[in-house]
Amino acid sequence: MGRKLQQQEQTSVKATQALRKAFDEMNGTGDGVRAPYNAVSEWLGTQKLEDLKQKLLEAETMFRRTGITFAVYGKEEAAERLIPFDIIPRIISGPEWRRLTAGIEQRVRALNAFMYDIYHRQEIIKAGKIPEELVVGNSAFVPEMMGVEPPLGIYSHIIGIDIVRTSENDFFVLEDNTRTPSGVSYMLENRETMMHMFPDLFARNRVAPVDDYPENLLKTLASVAPRGLEGEPTIALLTPGQYNSAYFEHSFLADQMGVELVEGHDLVVLDGSLQMKTTQGLRRIDVLYRRIDDDFLDPLVFRSDSVLGVPGLFDLYRAGRVTIVNAPGGGIADDKAIYSYIPEIIKFYTGRAPILQNVPTYNCRKPDDFKYVLEHLPELVVKEVHGSGGYGMLVGPTASKAEIEAFRAKLVANATNYIAQPTLALSTCPTLVDTGVAPRHLDLRPFVLFGDEVRLSAGGLTRVALQAGSLVVNSSQGGGTKDTWVLQD
C-alpha cells in the first residue's frame, strides 16, 4: 500500500536519471524495504493520503503556534516563514550511527587540532601539507587569534557536519560548519511534534532520544569556562536580536538551558570582565555562546560599524577573562578552499585515515583542476568558496544551457573564488508531497559538541529537497526537514 501512494511524476529526463540512480533510505536499490524502516513502511501502508495530509496541516499549525519560524532575507512578505516539515521520518540504524559517530568524533578532534596549530606554530604548513597562502591569505583566517590560548585548546565547540549518503555504505561529508551552525532547534522540535502526533510510531520503534542536547550543550559550555574561575560559570547566549533569521533557535536554546539571552547593548566590558545589565545592576558573564559572526563581535577589533557586539570583548577574550563559543577565527576550518585538504589534516593530527570520506573536490585556483571544471560544468556542482545557504551555486545537471554559460562567465572572471565537486546522487527518502508519497533527496546534519569530552545527541537535522529531482536542501531555497531517528539495538 505504501507503494501505491508513490506517484508517477513528470520530471525532466536528467532528474529521473538522478532518481533512478539514487539509493533510497527506505527501499534501498529496489530490492525490498530496508530493515530499519520495516515498522514505518508497514505503518505507512495503512495510512490514507488524506489523513497524512491532515496530519501535515496539524503539524504546521503546531509549528506556527510555537513560533518556529525563520526569516528569509530580502523577502518582506514572508518575514516569518515556516520551514516545511515532512512527517515521514528519516531512520538511521544503530550500526550506521556508530560508524558516523566514530567518524564525526575523529573529525571534530582533528579540526580543532588544526585550528590550534594554525593559530600557533603552523606545523602543518611547515610540513608542506597545506599551502601557506591558502591559510594566512584566507579571508577566514583571523590574525588577531595568533597565540591566543582558548580553554582546553578548543576553538569550535559546536559543529554541524553536513553528511550525505550515496549507497548502503557510502557516506560523504559535504561541509563542516565550524562557525555558528544552526538548525538544532528543528532537530528538537521536529521530534516533539512527531511524538505528539504519532505516539504509536514511537511505541513500535526504539528511537534514541535527542532531548539530551540542551543539557549536553550546557555541560560543554561550562567545561570551557575561563581558567581559574571559582564556582559555577555564568553563561549567556548572544543573539543579534529578534529580526535575525535564526532568532527562534537562539531563544529556544537559551530557554532550554536556562541562561540569559542577551543582545550587544545588554553587555558592557567593565573592570576586566564582561558584564550584563540586569535589574540589579551589572553581573559578570564567564562564557558567551555567541550567535553573531566574527566580524560583528567587537567594533574595536573587527567591523567598527557593528552595533551587535561589545567594544572591548576581544581583548577580554585574549586575556582569558571570558570564553567566546565558538572561538573567533574558526571559519578557517570550514572554508571551502581548505575542505579538499581535510583528509590530509585528519591524517596529520590523528595519524589515522579518515573514517568519513570527503567528496572529491576541484580547486579552481589550481590550473589543472580549473581546466577540468570548465570542461565538465554540466556534470559538476560549483560553489563559491565563502558562500553558504545554497546561494551562488551551480548545480550542473539540473541547470539550463544559458545558466551554465552565465555561470561560466563568473567562473572565468574569478576562478579562485570557486570549488567544484561531482554531482552526488544523494540518497532519497519517501516524502509526502501534493500528489502522494514520493522519493526526495536529503542530507543529514548531526550537531556535535566538544568540551571536556565529545558529546553527540543521537540524531540530527535531516534536510530534504522538496522539488522532485532537486539536490538543493537548504531551507533558504525551499528545502524542508524531517525528524531523524537513530534506532537503538
Binding site: R65, T66, T279, Q280
Partner: protein
C-alpha cells in the same frame, strides 16, 4: 534578569491589559451610540470614549468629525494609533518574542495565536452585528494570556514585573475613565436624575465590568458617589484603584524580598496605597473628585518612571 527583559515583560503586560481595556471602552461607547436619541448628538459619546482611551488627539489629527465607523476602526485596527487593539497585540507579541525565554509555552502560544488570528481579521468585513463578537474575542484572549501567566509562570521577577505592568495599566485605565466622566458623578444642584444620567452611570460601571457586581456589593440602585467609591476605594473590586494598588504593593514587596532591597518606588507605591486605604469618599468629594483623580494619575505615572529607573529598564 536583564533590565531589558524586565522592561519588555512590564510593557508586554501593559499592552495586553490595554488591548482588553480598548475593547471594553469600544463596547461601552457603541452601546450608548446605539441608544435612540434626538438630534445629531449621537456620535458625541465617542468623544469621551476617545478621551478615556487617551486617543482623542490622535483621532482628531486624522479625522475631522466623529463617525462610528472611523472611531471603531481607529480604536481597534489602526496601526497609526499606538493604543489600538491591533497595535497593542502587535507590541505585546513583539515584546514576548524578544523575551521568549522568559515566557512559558502556554503564555507564548496564547500571545502568538492572538496576534495571528487578529491580524487575519479584515476590518472591512466587520459588520455591526459582528462587532460584539470581535470585542468578546479580544477580552477572552487577554483572559487566556493572564490565565496562562497565573497558572504556569514561576513566582519570580518574571511574574512580579508582569504584575506591575498589568496593574499600573489597569489603574491608569480606571483613573482615566473617572477623569473623563467625573462630572456625571458630581452631586447636582438640580437633581436631573433622568434617563441620561442613569445611562452614563451604567456606562462607567460597564467600562470596568462592574455593572453587575455593583448591585451585589451595594444592594441598591446606582448612586453616583457610590460608583465613585466603588471604583476608587473598594478593596474587593478587581479594577478599583485600591485593589490595583494592593496588587502593585504585593509585587513590589515580592521584588524587594527577592532582590533584598527596597527603593524609592516602594515609597511611592506605599504612599499612594495609603491614600486609597485610608481615604473616604466624602472627603474626596469635599476636596474635589477631579483634583483627586488628576493627582492619582500623576502619582501612577511617577511610579512607572520610578520602577523603570530602579530596575534599570534602560540598561
Amino acid at each position: 534578569m536583564l533590565g531589558r527583559t524586565a522592561n519588555d515583560l512590564y510593557w508586554l503586560a501593559r499592552y495586553v491589559e490595554r488591548a482588553e481595556n480598548m475593547a471594553r471602552l469600544t463596547e461601552v461607547g457603541y452601546r450608548i451610540v446605539l441608544l435612540p436619541r434626538d438630534g445629531d448628538g449621537t456620535h458625541e459619546e465617542w468623544r469621551s470614549t476617545l478621551s478615556s482611551a487617551g486617543c482623542a488627539q490622535g483621532y482628531f489629527s486624522k479625522f475631522e468629525t466623529l463617525n462610528t465607523r472611523d472611531v471603531i476602526n481607529y480604536l481597534l485596527f489602526d496601526f497609526s494609533n499606538p493604543s489600538s487593539v491591533k497595535s497593542c497585540l502587535a507590541a505585546a507579541r513583539r515584546n514576548g518574542r524578544a523575551q521568549r525565554t522568559s515566557l512559558t509555552r502556554d503564555m507564548w502560544e496564547s500571545l502568538n495565536a492572538a496576534w495571528i488570528e487578529f491580524s487575519n481579521i479584515n476590518p472591512a468585513n466587520i459588520t455591526a452585528g459582528e462587532l460584539p463578537r470581535v470585542l468578546d474575542w479580544v477580552r477572552s484572549r487577554s483572559a487566556l494570556y493572564r490565565g496562562a501567566l497565573l497558572n504556569t509562570i514561576l513566582r519570580n521577577d518574571t511574574f512580579f514585573f508582569s504584575q506591575l505592568g498589568t496593574f499600573l495599566e489597569r489603574a491608569d485605565n480606571t483613573a482615566r475613565i473617572l477623569d473623563v466622566k467625573y462630572y456625571v458623578l458630581l452631586p447636582q444642584i438640580e437633581m436631573v436624575g433622568g434617563g441620561v444620567d442613569a445611562v452614563q452611570w451604567g456606562a462607567i460601571l460597564r467600562s470596568v465590568s462592574a455593572h453587575r457586581s455593583y448591585r451585589w456589593v451595594y444592594k441598591e440602585n446606582y448612586k453616583p458617589w457610590r460608583i465613585a467609591e466603588y471604583l476608587i476605594l473598594n478593596q474587593a473590586m478587581p479594577r478599583s484603584l485600591r485593589s490595583c494598588y494592593d496588587e502593585i504593593n504585593i509585587a513590589l514587596s515580592d521584588l524587594a524580598n527577592l532582590y533584598g532591597e527596597r527603593s524609592v518606588c516602594h515609597e511611592t507605591a506605599a504612599g499612594t496605597r495609603n491614600l486609597l486605604s485610608s481615604g473616604n469618599i466624602d472627603d474626596i468629594f469635599q476636596s474635589g473628585l477631579h483634583e483627586f483623580i488628576e493627582d492619582f494619575i500623576i502619582r501612577n505615572n511617577r511610579l512607572g518612571n520610578d520602577v523603570a529607573e530602579v530596575y534599570h529598564f534602560n540598561g
